[in-house]
Amino acid sequence: MSVANELLLGDAVAMAQAVRSGGCSATELVSASLHHIGRSDAQVNAFTAVLTTRALARAAQIDHQRDSMATLPLLGVPFAVKNLFDVAGLATLAGSKIEREAPPARADALLVQRLEAAGAVLVGALNMDEYAYGFTTENSHEGACHNPHDLTRIAGGSSGGSGAAVAAGQVPITLGSDTNGSIRVPASLCGVLGLKPTFGRLPRSGSYPFVSSLDHLGPLARSVRDLALSYDLMQGPEAWGPQRDPGCAQRAVEAVTPLLGRGATGLRIGVLGGHFQANAQPQALAALSQVARALDAHEQVELPLVEAGRAAAFLITNAEGGALHLDDLRRRAGDFEPLSRDRFLAGALLPAAWVARAQRVRHAYAQAAARLFERFDVLLAPATPTAATPIGCEWLDIGGQRHPLRPHMGVLTQPISCIGLPVVAVPVWAPGHHLPLGVQVIAAPWREDLALRVAAELETRGVIDARLAPQEPLFS
């Protein structure tokens, strides 16, 4: 196996070190990534665009200027983004058929610019649920994204391509978006790490919106240090201007990478019960128990108003999403994804009083959660109610109740993003199971450092495992 192919099995930090030291060129590394995508993506269907020419040109530039660029932390590291991020020269699809008619983006999204400024190399755009309204990435226009750990199953969504590309080893880092769980659900089902930062932490400029009140952007990766480093490199305020993201808090960089070694000792860690236990199958609860036991977290607590918070998130999402697409729903409803079209149509009709009430309940819920964080630094909960389900599955049975699977896959993530809490989804392999399942490590607003410290501790102790999917089935 070539050095570049061996590096692809590892993480981004190791890749950048190898490029920096001359052990592997950026061109070799990026070529290996492109070759792997070319061989495996017929099975996985994570990518909707592969940027071969652009990526190889950028890699050649890095090799040519390696000495002057040597300090860049992601030197030569290939990465990919959900196709709702602007990529110069490509129409920003957001998973849709309709946006294929849009003019090409004139510039990269801000977060893409920031990662490339740190030496990373964009190699492609990734599959997703249409307009981010879904948890399964069974995209009717592009085809379903397949879970690399079991190709007959879903990768989760809406950032399904972002989870699958990392689990398949096509790239070590991807970017996704999370409105109600769209980073954490695919991270859980694909067995990778996903970070949904605090609402307003990372600027969303140059990304296609879904629900401005709730949209977050963040990274997925296979090691905690990659997750933390990529997050650190994307932090920071935007340049002043009328186009900047009104939902961004414009905070200064608060780097977490230097803090990872502090571990979880001394942190007050609780386990969320109630809603989070009642909506999880036994395997999800087993994964939660594994993590809680390792952290010596025994106290089970209730998140006040959690059901109302989930209801508020549903209504805000439905109404804002429907309103955003009202013109196209009027003119060409038949061009929408059949799996989410009727939800968009219904959302466009919601009474304003419901949505206004939901925004007020959301605030009351956030205040109640803040009181809970006076007693705890970190809270734990399952990320998804179940492991990856077969593609095409319609129903999910939990505790004797039957739920429509597609909206219900986010039942455990939706209440957390509703109030903008930072979360790291960490991958757990419960004994006797052939599929991973994620656990949410949740902190108070602006305390991504605590969630990442806990994730790092779990990784060091081998409690979590973002293993690569078996490679051979991907090439058959």
């Binding site: 009328p242 209801a311 009027r330 009709l349 419901w354 009430r357 939901a358 007020r360 959301r362």
Partner: protein, 73 residues
């Protein structure tokens, strides 16, 4: 809302918004609207006093360069 109320509301509002619901879509729209109505009951069951603010705040947008009296500030 009762199923009849939902049907009447959906048809009237869609018409007012000039949003044509194809027969094949209408069934799903009614189902999802009913789901939203259930969630609306949940948020309306939460006691709020009049001072409970909504969670989103408007951020005024200042010009990049602002002329103030005799010069740029």
């Amino acid at each position: 809302m009762t199923p009849d109320q939902i049907e009447a509301y959906v048809d009237a509002t869609a018409s007012a918004l000039d949003l044509h619901l194809a027969p094949a879509h209408r069934v799903g729209v009614l189902r999802y609207f009913a789901l939203a109505a259930q969630f609306a009951e949940v948020v309306h069951a939460v006691h709020l006093d009049a001072t409970t603010e909504p969670s989103m705040a408007f951020v005024p947008v200042a010009p990049v360069r602002h002329t103030d009296g005799g010069g740029l500030s």
